[in-house]
Symmetry: C2
DNA sequence: AGATAGTGTGTGAAATTTACACCGTTAAAT
DNA sequence: ATTTAACGGTGTAAATTTCACACACTATCT
């Protein structure tokens, strides 16, 4: 028999990454009952003496080894029976990050066997109500893509316009017109054209661009409409 | 010395109403420590055996006498010291409702001395972090006004176009052009023109309109851009 | 030298947004 | 009966934004 508990707060994290033209999220394989061996979102219990924002950072780190992600809460799930051991209300956070091969995923606690990226299409069944949490989060960023510069958090620092477009197409799940897309993106004035070109491709190399955060801040006060 | 408690969930409600060209919110006067006699948002503790959505309905009812409001959560506040007696994480909900003189505000518990409407301008200091909660909620509905038909929840069932425009102007805090506003609103096709006119005004009576929820649903699938 | 794969560019039509002002109606006041 | 005060209701033209659409260029690989 598992222990029962009352009134526990937890955090669950939906972390998006973009790699090889695919959108992925970060999952763990659980090493604890309930749902031992299942796949799940990185999530755990909030301590008494930490804010939920701090808890989110800590928990993500402990379960995946990733630090200093900028996460934002997007919804709180509070159905009575969402956790088999008792009443657990969970605040869900999301972040968008660059998948650089460099950062290793290595849980620092025993609660997770491992952490890994998984394409958002063909997601398996997840533990608890994590599939629902994921869907809610995915819809959230899909909307947010239209009015916040979140695409640039997923791309490498230097990127081509085609990569940017491909990201939009993936998240929004629809084709966009190349000429119109480029015209519009460039018209905002927050993309900085670099003197550098793509390398290692077997076709004409494309120009690289950077997202210029300062210019963005000057142009919009947190508001914009994109793609 | 007040009792201390651990890990409590609570709900706080930001309920908007519109009356006499003014936007108002529902406040209570507290009858309990801490912050006894202060003004506060209606809010209380979630029970073990109720979902947070259910808790929100119950709590609003107990503190104000209002029932069957359709509330939606908008943010969760989880700073460590937001409550002087211990760790309390609160999920904030909002709703927009018609202030009909008819519905009486009458708390059914002792936790509130009374409940009343207060204009959103010139809000006094509120208990706990309720001022921050209110601001977050106000920003939320301000954004949402642009893409969800929430204005119609604030107006009486039958309303004039001028009332509708005045509501938009109040919430967005800017003047809109009368002709453009009417043209656009009518172009959506979800406003039903009634055969009735305004009564009891000392000037030419305006036509009354109704929001046609069915048509709205057909036209948009939860998406729109307004004003 | 040719094949392959993706880069980069412009125009016109259609739709949407914006700016703008006056006469009509009603009830209350004189 | 007339006037006044207050709001109701309406159209057009210019500017801007969105949308649809196709081909020549460049780099690499064989």
């Amino acid at each position: 028999m598992l222990p029962k508990f009352d009134s526990v707060f937890s955090i669950d994290c939906v972390i998006f990454g973009f790699e090889a033209g695919e959108l992925k999220i970060l999952l763990i394989e659980r090493n604890e009952e309930p749902y031992k061996d299942w796949l799940a979102l990185p999530g755990y219990i909030v301590e008494q003496d930490e804010s939920i924002d701090d808890a989110a950072e800590r928990i993500l780190y402990e379960l995946t080894g990733l630090r200093d992600m900028h996460m934002q809460q997007f919804h709180t799930f509070g159905e009575v029976n969402r956790h088999p051991q008792g009443r657990v209300i969970t605040v869900a956070y999301y972040a968008l990050i660059r998948i650089n091969g460099q950062k290793e995923l290595r849980p620092v606690t025993q609660y997770a066997k491992k952490a890994f990226w998984h394409p958002v299409n063909e997601l398996p069944k997840l533990a608890f109500d994590h599939s629902e949490i994921f869907n809610t989060g995915f819809n959230k960023i899909r909307r947010r893509l239209h009015y916040q510069p979140i695409a640039f958090e997923l791309l490498p620092e230097k990127f081509t316009l085609t990569q940017l477009q491909s990201l939009y197409e993936t998240v929004l799940n629809k084709k966009l017109d190349k000429r119109n897309f480029r015209k519009k993106m460039l018209s905002y004035g927050f993309l900085k054209e670099l003197d550098e070109k793509q390398k290692g491709v077997s076709y004409r190399a494309a120009k690289l661009y950077k997202f210029d955060k300062r210019k963005y801040g000057k142009i919009f006060q947190g508001e914009m409409t994109l793609a």
